[in-house]
């Protein structure tokens, strides 16, 4: 196979920006449909041999994620406050994007997620809205994603799951101690535990090896190709066509538009920081819920003085956060949770919002352990543990193998004042304005977290924990689920793109990633990002073949 290589002056059919969870799928779909595709990726092109079990490199230093020393981010709680340097958001920054280093939870949305506004009405202080599609529109694409990427799980085990046309292609991963105790306890409580759907191979699949349970999933690249990233699943298929060029270390600074209001390509910095213009007939922006909004805001023109495709003024608004809290329990015997995948069992019993609780929102709870040795000693111990000395040492020594966590995954309401904007002072290493994040959780989001934390404590106690502790409810950590900044909708005044990710303003521009989300569901956005990408790509191919782009 000869890998495709296009000259920048050559007008390719589609230019995709971002080779992550969404961009990888779109590149594969479009190249397979016969189109010439260039994918610009700001990060490097790595492979299994580049990865290692190095906690310091991948969890403390930004091994596979955005590095704030070269791409600073500023954060403030509200517009009136000065923004300060803080790595408020984090994303995968390499070919494969976040699908390389994510924990690999792979949940479909529930049917209700697409029309919560119809179900619950307005929520004061938030922009709760229905999606322009329903679950049935997306179902075939969830199925396609699960099949092409390789997802392990047990169909029908979750009684709250929406109808599915096919079972998971792979059986669930073996249960761990956390999953087993969680399953027994929640069953006794009348709840409905089920095996975690994971983008990790429980058996060999399509030429890739099965998971060997090394335990280094979250924050790490998989050395066995067992994690179903786009890097090891669909991107090789895209390249096999001979029509798709993945161009790493290519950092886009502007999307180009002509006098007729059509995209003509994008200007990027190559590895030597030289500016290059890649020409294309159409452009698909898949850079993630923060970087896509940033790039649109950077791409100002006389036609779009407030940023490309931003006639609605909503580009960058309604940023939703990666909400959820960790509760931990100490158990009598070693569970050795550091082995194998992070999560094996979870519940969706509290997923739906319930007006009787007095707030909008709900969530899921999974049993897990996502600490590595040093991170556990530094951040995993109960409050009040001495910070140094023999008692400190004995605590992390005794607790490391005996701690099991429960993580909640809760709603993040879309609030218009939670935004991605361009910082007016701070610049990145290329001279581009830094991303400025403005974010405060909606009061209902905090209420949902607090309510869920009570459930987490009850379950840990029912599991037999000797001691239980948890995160404070008011903590806003780093968000890794980047959602909502180019929301989809039918009305061009109230949304940025249609349900296929097509810009309401620019006919040959598509935006397809977490930015399209109208609601946050209960976190774990990757399955839905990829289902939307499959659906959007099919539509792009149809439009291009019909000459309607």
């Amino acid at each position: 196979m000869t890998k495709a290589a296009f000259r920048p002056s050559e007008e390719v059919d589609f230019l995709v920006i971002g080779a992550g969870a969404s961009g990888g799928v779109i590149a594969k779909e479009l190249a397979s449909a016969g189109f010439r595709v260039v994918v610009l990726e700001q990060g490097p092109y790595l492979s299994e041999s580049d990865y290692s079990h190095d906690e310091l490199k991948y969890t403390i230093m930004p091994g596979l994620t955005n590095d704030p020393t070269v791409q600073p981010i500023t954060y403030r709680k509200a517009e009136q406050e000065p923004a300060k340097l803080k790595k408020a958001i984090e994303y995968g920054r390499q070919v494969g994007g976040g699908s390389v280093h994510f924990t690999a939870n792979y949940w479909r949305f529930h049917e209700s997620d697409f029309h919560e506004h119809s179900l619950y009405g307005d929520v004061a202080g938030a922009s709760l809205a229905d999606w322009p599609i329903n679950y049935q529109d997306l179902e075939p694409f969830y199925t396609k994603a699960e099949c092409e990427l390789g997802i392990s799980g047990l169909a029908g085990a979750n009684p709250f799951e929406a109808p599915r046309s096919k079972p998971y292609p792979l059986p669930p991963m073996p249960v761990k101690s956390s999953g087993l105790l969680f399953e027994r306890a929640t069953r006794k409580m009348g709840l409905h535990p089920f095996p975690a759907p994971l983008a990790i191979l429980s058996q060999p699949y399509r030429g890739r090896a099965a998971c060997v349970h090394c335990g280094f999933c979250e924050s790490f690249g998989c050395e066995m190709q067992a994690k179903s990233s786009t890097l090891v699943s669909v991107i090789p298929v895209a390249e096999e066509t001979g029509r798709c060029e993945i161009r790493p270390n290519s950092y886009v600074r502007n999307i180009e538009i002509n006098a007729h209001g059509r995209i003509t390509g994008a200007v990027y910095f190559d590895q030597s920081r030289k500016e290059v213009l890649q020409r294309a007939k159409a452009l698909v922006l898949c850079a993630n819920g923060v970087e896509s909004a940033k790039l649109l805001l950077l791409s100002k023109s006389s036609q779009f003085p407030n940023g490309l495709a931003n006639s609605s003024g909503l580009v960058g608004k309604h940023l939703m956060w990666d909400l959820g809290l960790l509760a931990e329990g100490l158990f009598e015997y070693p569970a050795n949770e550091y082995k194998s995948v992070q999560v094996t069992r979870l519940i969706h019993d509290f997923y739906e919002s319930d007006p009787k609780r007095g707030f909008y929102g709900g969530g899921a709870i999974d049993a897990r352990f996502d600490f590595y040795p040093a991170g556990f000693a530094l951040g995993g111990l109960p409050p009040g543990t001495p910070k140094w000395g023999l008692e400190f040492k004995k605590t992390f020594g005794h607790y490391f193998t005996r701690t099991i966590s429960l993580l909640s995954h809760t709603t993040s309401l879309a609030v218009e004042s939670n935004t991605v904007t361009l910082d007016s002072e701070v610049k990145d290493a290329w001279g581009l304005p830094a991303v400025r994040i403005t974010y405060s959780p909606h009061p209902d989001d905090l209420a949902a977290q607090a309510w869920m934390m009570q459930r987490q404590h009850e379950i840990l106690e029912a599991m037999g924990a000797k001691k239980v502790w948890g995160d404070p409810v008011d903590s806003v950590g780093t968000s890794r689920h980047l959602m909502g900044t180019c929301r989809m909708g039918k009305n061009p005044a109230k949304s940025v793109v249609n349900s296929y990710g097509r810009s309401h303003d620019v006919a040959n521009l598509f935006i397809v990633d977490g930015s399209n989300f109208v609601t946050s569901a209960r976190q774990q956005p990757t399955a839905t990002i990829q289902a939307l990408a499959y659906r959007a790509a099919e539509n792009m191919a149809r439009l291009a073949k019909a000459g309607e782009l």
């Binding site: 079990h53 906690e55 310091l56 249960v175 060997v212 090394c214 140094w388």
Partner: protein
């Protein structure tokens, strides 16, 4: 600065002899003997004075009373490597922090000559005097990393830290992974 690893370990331990330290020294001797005599350790960045002070602090942050601690794991080598490479920007904080700790030492224990020469009780009192400072948190973080991060960064020698917490750094595991999922095998269905 060049020292053999054995000289370094013994040198940093031989200053305040208490029963705990004797035990630690025995551990250290065992560890040092595992290293060949030709193993010469050069510090990349720290000078002798700073290395001795940091060794003394590290030995109290993760002590060796119940088995190998920061000393045997070579946490000070991790700090040295960090300041020579990926944490270069923390050098000034270390310089200033060590200066303030020295000042605190002469205030609390005017008769003492150095931090290394303090008794353990005196070292604890010294640490309590700055345990809420930003500098202490940096040192504490580095010492923990020097005990539990991958050995290629200079610490966690002989995987001492991983052995202490029962973390097994294998690439391949098979179920059952822990006590409770193993227990299921015997469970009456």
């Amino acid at each position: 600065m060049l020292l053999t690893r054995r000289e370094w370990l013994l040198g940093s331990l031989g200053l305040a002899i208490t029963p705990h330290v004797v035990l630690a020294a025995q551990n250290a001797m065992r560890d040092a003997q595992a290293v060949s005599d030709g193993d010469v350790v050069a510090f990349e960045y720290l000078d002798t004075g700073a290395a001795l002070v940091l060794s003394a602090l590290a030995a109290e942050i993760i002590p060796s009373d119940d088995g190998p601690g920061a000393t045997e794991a070579g946490a000070v080598y991790f700090i040295d490597h960090a300041l020579a490479t990926f944490d270069r920007e923390k050098r000034d904080q270390y310089k200033e922090g060590l200066r303030q700790v020295e000042a605190l030492r002469s205030k609390l224990f005017p008769a003492s000559a150095s931090i290394e020469s303090l008794t353990r009780q005196q070292r604890w009192e010294l640490i309590r005097g700055f345990e809420n400072s930003a500098f202490f948190e940096i040192v504490r973080t580095h010492v923990v990393l020097g005990f539990l991060a991958n050995p290629e960064y200079g610490g966690n020698r002989g995987k001492a830290g991983w052995k202490y917490i029962d973390f097994d750094d294998q690439m391949v595991f098979e179920p059952p992974f822990g006590y409770y999922d193993a227990d299921r095998k015997n469970e009456a269905k």
